[in-house]
Structure formats: C-alpha cells, structure tokens
Amino acid sequence: MEPLAPHEKIYVDSEIAEDEFHGELSCDECHGGNPNDPNWKTAHEGVVKDPSYPDPSSSCGQCHEDIAEHYASSLHISLSSFKKITEKRLGSNPALQDKLTEARAAHCGGCHSSCGQCHISRPESVEGGLLEAHLFQKKPPMHQVCTACHGSRVEKEYFGKNAGIPPDIHKEKYFKCNKCHTAEQMHGDGNQYGNRYEVENSPKCLDCHAEIYSEKSENASQHNDHKDKLSCQVCHSMPYKNCYACHVGRDEQGLAYYKTTGSMLGFKIGLNPLQSDKRPEKFVTVRHVPVDPHTFKYYADIKLANFDALPTWKLATPHNIRRQTPQNKSCNACHGNHQLFLSKNDVKPEYVNANAKVIVPPEMVPQKVDE
C-alpha cells in the first residue's frame, strides 16, 4: 500500500460539501474543536480524530442507529478473541490478569477498526490517513483498508504474493473482500462471538457453490465422498504462511514492539479443533500462529501457565483457493501422503500437549486407494 504524505492524510475534498447527507454536517459536529478560530493550534483543542471510536452513538449512530446498535459486538471492535485466547492460556492468577490487560492494551488494542477507520480513513494501526480525502466510502477499499491490516497472511495469499503460489482464484475473478465478507458480517449482530469462525453469517463456500453435490456437477462424486469429512480448503487451498513465536515489549523509549521469529510457507491438514454442527468436518487446514509460552515475558516473567489449553496450530481458512492443487491432483496425492497431515514430528516437543487435539495420528491418515 502506497504511504500517504502527511498533508495527504488530512486533505479534505471540498466535494464533500455536495454529499447530500454528510455534507450537511459541519466538521465540529462530529470532530469537535473550534471552527471559528483561525489559529490551527487552538482551533484543534478538543478535536476527536475518529469520532466513531470507541462509541459511534453520537456521530455515525445519529443516523445509522441500526448499525451502531451492534457495533460493540463486531470482532473488529471488541477484539474479543484476543481476550478470550490470552486469558485462557494465562490461567487464573489474578495478579497476572492485570499485567496481561496492560500488555493487551499496548500490543493488541491498536488492531481494531471502527466506522470511520473503514469508511473514511485508513485504520490507525496502519498509520491512518483519509481515504479519498474524506469522501465517505460505502464499500471500504480493499487495498487501503482490509489488506492494510490483514497483510501478512490474507493479502499475500489472496494476491499471490507468496513466492511460487498463484493468487486466489476469486482474486482472478476480480472479487473484492466484501463480495464474501458482507457489511452485515462486519458490523456485528449483537452476539459476543469468541472468534470469527463462530460468527453466524460468516461466509461459506456453499453460499455460491451449492451445486457441487448435485449429480450434474462435474466432480459430484468426489464432493459427495468427502462431504462433511474435509473442509473445502483441505482440497482447494495452496501452501500458506505459518508464523512462529511472537514476543512483545517496550523499548527504551517506551514504544511498543513485537518480534516474531520467522514465518514459513507450508500446508498441513489437522483434526478440526472447532468441530460443531456448523463445522462438522473432521479434517481441516491448520496454521501455526505466532504464540509462545513466553510471549508476554516483558510484562510478567513467567510462562503462560495454561498454555496447553489451546493449540498453536489453529483452524485456518487460507485465502489462496485454487480449483486444482497439489493435494487434489489425484486421490493418492492426498491418501496415504503422511507429509500433508500434521504429525507429532511437525510439532516442537514442548508444544505437543497443546496440539494433542489437532495432531493427526498415523492410523487416521486416509490409506492409499486404487486409482
């Protein structure tokens, strides 16, 4: 994403005055400050950069009350998965809870979005800057908003930026993020979800590809044979990024930092750790996430006591879907191919307990078939 010059970040297109709805609002109605003061320094006293965060009720919510009502339940605002996961791994020591809250505020809390940080500006976590000079964007531009944050994994997968891996087939069909990830899904529905896979109206491949099980479908037999046994990505995803150990802290100047120890492209099929009626598949693609028992060592010099409560290889839905992949070239490209399946040998000895639920025992790897 092209960086914006400092003045570009705050330049406003006078065309906004012609916006039949937002153009009727004066700047200070949302942002505060004193528009009558010709001195820019004093005029900005009390100015709120993003009036929609953390509470949009007195700005966007004045007109878009139906959306603002559920705003706090959107994962982009609540970041509830960070809280849920880190607290589960931490264990029940109340003294450490405070430390964890401090660490989360410094390192995770900035990765939120808001009405403004999707529809008016780039998100603050990528240094902000107005989109289209403050002209309101009904559909957030993919490059400047979605993949500005979801850059390391989703962007590289979707646009084919990982060496040797082609872009997602949906990208080649010119799909933007919002084709699958609708506004209703982004805006929250009032339910406090623990992670994105729980979200009721999250996208499903079958929303568009319902015909794959029909007899008329070209590959109906393969799809029916594997129905509810494999996630779509197991057959249709290419190798994706896995990240390892992240450590966070503050430098000598008090600035927050993170350090990850590297990333690797890979492809692993694991047992579904979130098996449910909604996700009945036994096998899913799993991705290693950047966590370590000592991730928060800077804040509390002990390891996460309950680290093994969650796997470090997590259910993943990579964004590099292809019709043909190395593992679906033939039946035995997958059947009997132990390398594709997450085994004990793929996991560091100290992480084996944490990953017990996702590691595929050798006897569960599908056997070779006569082709």
């Binding site: 004066s26 942002h31 850059g151 390391s152 990024k241 927050a256 120890t261």
Partner: protein, 70 residues
C-alpha cells in the same frame, strides 16, 4: 428629474444586491468554518504538517525493535 431618480435608485439597488450579499456570505463563511478552508487547501496543509514534523523531529513514531511479520 423623476426618471433620473428612478434610474439612480435602480442602479443603487442593483449594486446593493450584487455586492452586499456576497460580503455577508463571505464574512459568515469565514467566521463559520476555518476547518474547511484549511483542510481543503493543500498548500496550507503542507506548511502546517512541515511545522508539525519539525516539532517532532527525532521522535520515532514506532519502535526500531519491531522485527518479523505482524
């Protein structure tokens, strides 16, 4: 005399209509929204952002210790 006065009145009225309302709107606009006049003026914004950058010179925006992918 009467037609002359009438013509003069019309001219005065036209001058009033043409000039005065503009002055009124300009003064209202100027007193109403400095945010708009400044934020729609790239030259002014460049000048101010340079001023801000100068005041913050030497202060890093983010830690140099950040390493790896986020």
């Amino acid at each position: 005399m009467k037609p002359l006065m009438l013509a003069a009145s019309i001219v005065c009225a036209l001058i009033f209509l043409l000039i005065v309302p503009q002055n009124i709107s300009l003064s209202v606009g100027a007193s109403e929204n400095h945010c708009f006049t400044c934020h729609t003026n790239p030259r002014k914004l460049i000048q101010i952002t340079r001023e801000i950058a100068k005041a913050h010179k030497g202060k890093p925006a983010k830690s140099s210790e950040i390493a790896g992918e986020g």
